[in-house]
């Protein structure tokens, strides 16, 4: 998918405007953990892609990556390096060997802290690659609400077109769905035209039922994406959590007609894992959700493993990390 195609797809797609909070719906959500885990465990065993199919799917994986750096030691230097990698994520000779020149391959977005938004926007000028800013008191989300809203506005003003916010976990743990709804709705408003990705921090929500309910409320409040984790929790993106969230996305589309995107983040490091996530999306939600318009993977080291696998696809020989340009 070319950058132009992607932009076309995203602009043609109606954003989820949100709906009034529906507490009956929230109350009716049931999640059976054991059954969810069984489905999640067998899904990667039921589907697989091999050879050129695997190569093609891995190219798609790359397009869905939100290439991320969220270090306390980030500097303009390493952010620029990351942006350079985002523009040219795979060695050109490999792209040739795979016959994939026409894709004009790039990642889904660059994801950084607010302080690095300006640097990233500058470095990506003309590429069409969006810059995403983590925001709203990331990663804990416990700053005063006005500050969190101002932070979003500042990142949007600095050029971020995607905003990854975190929710107040206490709202979920205490069943304060109205408070959660109001919070996310306020963030959405602060985003303006920027897309809102709502991080649920699923590793801190206690139960899968809470994950399901929080997913529904976030969508009702107008999230463009729902996202698993900050990458800073003890447990990040797992397939069972993903299954619960994407089933809520499906339910939301069935009930409202709006498509909400999905972003697992944290702990996704291998090409195989990224394929498992694509399989989950295709199986549970269908083809629109295996595009960067509706699916992103938040990751920093994933790309390197995919590059190795692509070299194997192109040459039949197992590769090494040092053969691929680092981000």
């Amino acid at each position: 998918m070319s950058v132009q195609d992607l932009h076309g797809l995203m602009s043609n797609m109606q954003r989820n405007p949100g709906i009034p909070l529906d507490l009956d719906w929230v109350d009716s959500i049931r999640v059976n953990r054991s059954a969810v885990e069984r489905r999640a465990a067998t899904l990667p065993a039921r589907r697989t892609v091999k050879k050129k199919y695997q190569a093609a799917w891995l190219l798609r994986s790359i397009e869905c990556i939100d290439l991320t750096t969220l270090g306390g030691d980030d500097t303009p230097g390493n952010v620029r390096r990351l942006c350079a990698k985002a523009r040219q994520p795979v060695r050109q000779d490999l792209i040739h060997a795979l016959g994939a020149e026409s894709i004009r391959l790039r990642v889904g977005a660059i994801c950084v802290y607010h302080a690095m938004v300006g640097t990233a926007v500058e470095a990506l000028k003309g590429t069409g690659i969006p810059v995403a800013a983590v925001s709203a008191g990331f990663p804990h989300g416990l700053n005063p609400l006005p500050q969190r809203i101002d932070e979003i506005k500042a990142s949007v003003a600095a050029g971020a077109s995607e905003i990854d916010i975190v929710i107040t976990r206490a709202h979920v743990l205490n069943g304060e769905w109205r408070a959660l709804y109001d919070e996310v709705a306020a963030f959405r408003e602060a985003c303006g035209d920027a897309h809102l990705k709502t991080i649920l921090a699923t590793g801190e929500l206690g139960t899968l039922t809470n994950v399901g309910k929080a997913s529904a409320v976030a969508m009702m409040a107008g999230a463009d994406f729902i996202k698993t984790s900050t990458g800073k929790e003890a447990v990040n993106a797992t397939l069972p959590v993903g299954l619960v969230m994407v089933r809520q996305i499906r339910e939301y589309e069935e009930r409202t007609g709006y498509r909400v995107g999905y972003k697992p983040a944290g702990g996704i490091r291998t090409a195989k894992q990224s394929l498992d996530w694509l399989i989950l999306m295709k199986e549970e939600l269908g083809d629109p959700w295996v595009t960067p318009a509706l699916f992103r993977i938040g990751a920093s080291s994933l790309l390197s493993d995919i590059e190795r696998q692509l070299e194997h696809s192109a040459t039949g020989i197992y590769s090494a990390y040092n053969r691929h340009p680092m981000p």
């Binding site: 999640v31 059954a35 039921r46 994939a100 199986e283 083809d287």
Partner: protein
Amino acid sequence: MSIIEIYEQMSWGPAPEGADLANEWLDRHDRKFGHYIDGTFVAPSEGVFFPTFHPASGKPLGEVAQGSDMDVSKAVLSAKVALKEWQAIGGYRRAQYLYAVARQIQKHARLFAVLETLDNGKPIRETRDLDIPLVVRHFYHHAGWAEAMESEMPGWEPIGVCGQIIPWNFPLLMLAWKIAPALAMGNTVVLKPAEYTPLSALLFAEICDRVGLPRGVVNIVTGDGETGRYLVEHPDVDKIAFTGSTEVGRLIRKATAGTGKGLSLELGGKSPFLIFEDSDLDSAVEGLVDAIWFNQGQVCCAGSRLLVQESVSERVFKKIRARMERLRIGDPLDKAIDIGAIVAPVQLERITALVEQGVREGAEIFQPSAPCPKDGWFYPPTLLTNVSPASTVAQVEIFGPVLVGMTFRTPKEAVEVANNTPYGLAASVWTENVNLAHDVAAKLKAGTVWVNCTNLFDAASGFGGYRESGFGREGGREGLYSYVRRTASNLPTPETSNWPEDDGPAPAIDRTHKLFIGGKQARPDSGYSLTIGTNEFGRGNRKDLRNAVEAARGAQAGWAANSSHGRAQVMYYFAENLQALGDEEAMHTVFSVAARCDKMDGACHSVPMRALCYAINEPIGVIGIVCSDGRPLSGLLELACGAISMGNTVVVIPSETDPLPAVELYRVLEASDVPAGVFNIVTGLRSELVSTLAEHMDVDAVWCLEPDWGVSVERLSVSNLKQTWVGSGRQPVETVLRHAVQVKNVWVPYGE
């Protein structure tokens, strides 16, 4: 397709599992296999072979031997000769062999999986991830039982030579379910694999050879139904274990009737899949995929009858249809295929015909849009709605990827519809309400109930049916009893009644001995009396039995719902009142039953997952009892009270030569708290009564302690494949109680 095209479409591609090594194995045998008898592969005595096919292509894989009666005889003889040594080496040595078998299968797991998929047509994912790992688990688990037999099963001994006949839907798994417990308990076996799927059993025979299993302990004779018949009819076979259709199960029941052979049957089903409104609907739909589209629906416990609560039925049906669109049907050797091929053309025809009939009867049919492969034998996943219990497709086992969907309004109605079938193999219940889950699980007539899950199996949990789905269990401690018998008991058997001799003058007042039905003394329908000695007794007939069974049926659910403590109280009080008859042995009999009423604990199996798997002893239902002539009072009481103590209700045909003690019980029963209908007695002639009782379709089991009538009882039990127990002499109370219950396993995965 180019990488770019695939990238744009994000389509699935082929992911073939290689079959080279399996083909090499077939070639090494020149694609022609003899039987495995007495430790060697031998050509069939009549030189006849028949082909076996790969269902996904319809092409032959090789030829296997057609077992003749001579082949079967040789195998049985070998098994018989092997018995002595196999038992003499002891549990520890047997455990080592079973352990070695488990190890070997594990080490060659993929070869087994591929071979199984080639022969059967089921997806490689299933053979690789489910069949073969479960086979291995079964042999490990039962290696443990072999080792533990001596201490864990005192008073039990092996039965002898076991003839085992298995189906084509889980060829190696069914072999494991049969062979592992049989060998563990010290039996030897002659196993006949299914005609369509003999190959994995032959590879298994090689494993037996490799681990040095003593000659004759395992014999594999291939062939068709005729071969199976030779095995069933062979006089030196001590026990038959069969898994397959209810139809063939009936034939086997008939053929073994009166031969003294042990029998366990695991037969068909039409298992319900209940979705309540408060369940995790998406997970329930996924469970349904595992229930009815696992192994193309060719599963005896397939969740083929979907029952959805009306309030969510439209949503659920919509979800199912959407899910069906994503099922992939195709080459079973592809790792990303959900539905493979149907095992044989005859099965495909049957499925097709039944679905057509369903549609003719008004069912709405849904099949996903993707076409089936042209080669081979395939049938698409199918959902039939607008179906009611009266529809043919809702009653008949289709044994294919065909789901019928119906609705219910209340939990009570759900249970009624679920139980509205002659079968009782398994059931699946989906609800997030723990109260509802256990309540419904308890009420379902099924040997296995899965709560918020489906088609879970483990060697530690006994699998088997209620009703016409068969009897006997496979797996767990309960499964071992299918392969052992009581060591000869030393209980003294009094030859005569210790009922006080009535040698005085005839009573001054004429007494009228009626029948005892529904808690009341009832005159016999015939209007005739029988004169025995100096007394006259009611001459019961088939209508009296009909009434008695009706009374027993009516009382059964309520009596079973009584607590075990409550039943114990009733039994104690009954024993107390028996003092009036002055028979100490009779009193003691009832006392000892009362003592055990609340002690038939179930078990919580250690299954390898985060789940409770609890085995509960449930009453069988209505039990007909044919008493012997000896010990007319105590003999009757030890059976009838054993039965009712576990929550069954009984219809008793007492001693024909001395019914007086039985009729004297009427007033004891009337004075006790035994509820009306629980204990029914019909006096009369066995020749006029036994066949009606044995045939009656609303009787769940018949016990016959009068040896002359055992053959008839077993033969006539085929009407509804009721359980039978044919014995003689005095029975220890533990034995009676074991016959009075059947095990239900309830699986409840947990975790929030």
